[in-house]
Symmetry: C2
Subunit: 354 residues, 2 copies
DNA sequence: TTGTAGGCGTTATCAA
DNA sequence: TTGATAACGCCTACAA
């Protein structure tokens, strides 16, 4: 079987209709088809008409891979998220997408499953596919590998970090966790608590580190000592993990456990509440509870949960805006936006039992 | 300024290091670099060594766009989700990603913002970029445009619909909403309810349609008539919208409003609970509540919310498995998996007040 | 206004 | 085992 010269490349093409087929059918040059499809004004209505008919008749759809390759740009930005189950994530995306799509960019997303490997795979995919920009909430911002990729600078696309940090200056949107944690401690200590516990996610991203640091510093500044037994890290921050931790805390005699707990974001609250309910622990009579992120669960739980809140949509929006600027002026000085955190008082904080 | 022949194409290339640069530096042919990078066994260790050194030294990263174009395949599947804020979405992704990444596929995601335009944009992106398969939970499965794209069949990649339906046979994962709604009605009617209200999302996707149909049929089968005043559709299904609806219901005199409400998935529960709390309405004494999807909020709310539950991770897994088969045998007969729904009894359903 | 042709970065075929 | 080369599908000077 000799390859039919009329159909060369057909095996690789997969039998799809290509721009050539359209051109042939319309009896015009390939470049004319391209012009019509890209809205180039220098086209006779008659020619446009014929091309459009051929496109319709053949059901042609552009192959954007060819287009991307030729143009060297994709009008697409990639978002890497560590934990797609985080209740805040949807709102961050909302803010980012609104801004970016208004500017003509498509937004695509990959989850990195809480692992540095996932980060690397997503980065390889997006950079390799030549997205025009990247919004990164990586699973692990402590690795040296992606720092190198950032440092490469030239050749890489503009990047904005979402509550992550790198050893070199970098565009980023940073929540003011120090301020938030301080407000939390003020609230709890003000209510009379001295034994305060803390449940956090992993330390390999900024929120964990910032919250822990602020917690320890804040306690010391108030003349208290963090009790290492009641500060727990959860990697990854699953509900099941948090439930075990909280159950363990609740098994201790009341006098020997924290009178108040601060629970970090992500899925931790779900697990903590499961354990609390299972133990029949009343809030705030038997224990006070303060959550690091405000969610419908925190709001609608009875009693309502005192929580830290930030403008989550604003995080996405700020990230998108920084990215748009960076894509416009790739060389510009790294800038970062800071998102304030406020406390929302509800009913889960009260005076300690003892 | 004449273009320097040594640097031709540099403007378009954007000054990135390419495979040519690596080849030149290593003193080998381009094809040899490609072989090394793709793990082709027919390569001398010495040559491999030199190439790897050059790659390292230049910080070279493959341009997957070129690779995609040449190969005609991407080892990537696209997922289109109507509502990224839906609490179930993360678990669907979890199930799908586990299965697909084990099979060597990367999973990328786009949200379609609850609009048919969003669906179209996402589809154009993914198909145009030649993903190998598509998992679709579109915002609107009633449009003729994407049906045409599906029918095109040849030329398009394999597709699995997630709780969506098309006029032609198609791979799909379908939740058994009829069964779920029937269980819900059995529960409520069994508790003595006769006036049952329903809050749903839009009818432009299957869950809305299937639930509504089953609701009406189920009531009639039990000798009851659905009261049109208490069946509300929400497009899109936002919390604010649901809150308004529920507040409206609660403003009516108790004798003239439903004694039980069934609340659909998505964000509707959040809004409904806000209104219920604001009105100080006690569950189930003053009204019974049953939710169409089980979430942490339903579980941890006090009183616990009776809910319909399905194996959400299983939806993603089933979708991924169907897609893997379809990608292996593109011509195969469309198959569909059905996901059962069960009821989880908690405390929000009781006898009617009157 | 339209056509011709070159090249984007890669892989695969073929010859050496 | 290695190298030269021809596509993949598209866009864009440039020429006509």
């Amino acid at each position: 079987m000799e390859p039919d010269p009329e159909r060369k490349g057909e095996a690789v093409r997969g039998g799809r209709v290509g721009i050539r087929d359209v051109a042939r059918r319309a009896g015009v040059a390939i470049s004319s088809v391209s012009r019509v499809l890209n809205g180039n004004p220098n086209v006779t209505p008659a020619l446009r008409q014929r091309v459009l008919e051929a496109v319709e008749a053949l059901g042609y759809q552009v192959n954007l891979v060819g287009s991307d390759l030729r143009r060297g740009t994709t009008r697409t930005v990639g978002v890497v998220i560590d934990d797609i189950a985080n209740p805040l994530f949807a709102e961050i995306m909302l803010g980012a997408e609104a801004t970016l799509s208004a500017a003509g960019y498509l937004v695509t997303l990959m989850s990195s499953h809480g692992t540095a490997r996932g980060d690397a795979a997503a980065l390889r995919h997006f950079r390799g596919r030549r997205v025009d920009g990247l919004l990164l909430a990586l699973s692990d911002d402590t690795g040296a590998d992606w720092h190198a990729a950032l440092a490469a600078g030239d050749g890489g696309c503009p990047v904005v970090l979402l509550d992550r940090e790198a050893p070199l200056p970098c565009h980023s949107v940073l929540s003011d966790h120090a301020q938030g944690m301080d407000a939390a401690l003020t609230e709890l200590v003000g209510a009379g608590h001295r034994r305060i516990g803390l449940m956090l996610g992993p330390l390999c991203t900024r929120p964990g580190r910032a919250r822990l640091r602020a917690f320890e510093a804040g306690l010391r500044a108030r003349g208290l000592n963090p009790d290492a037994r009641f500060v727990t890290l959860h990697t990854p921050a699953t509900a099941a993990d948090a439930e075990r931790t909280m159950a363990g805390v609740l098994r201790r005699p009341a006098a020997d456990r924290p009178s108040a707990m601060i629970v970090g974001g992500g899925q931790l609250l779900t697990g903590a509440l499961r354990a609390l309910h299972a133990a029949g622990c009343r809030l705030p009579e038997e224990m006070s509870l303060l959550v690091c992120d405000d969610t419908p669960l925190a709001e609608l739980h009875r009693p309502g949960l005192t929580a830290l809140r930030r403008d989550v949509i604003g995080i996405g929006r700020a990230g998108a805006e920084l990215l748009l600027e960076a894509m416009k002026a790739p060389g510009a000085e790294p800038r970062s936006a800071t998102i304030p955190i406020e406390i929302v008082r509800r009913a889960s904080v009260g005076p300690p039992a003892a």
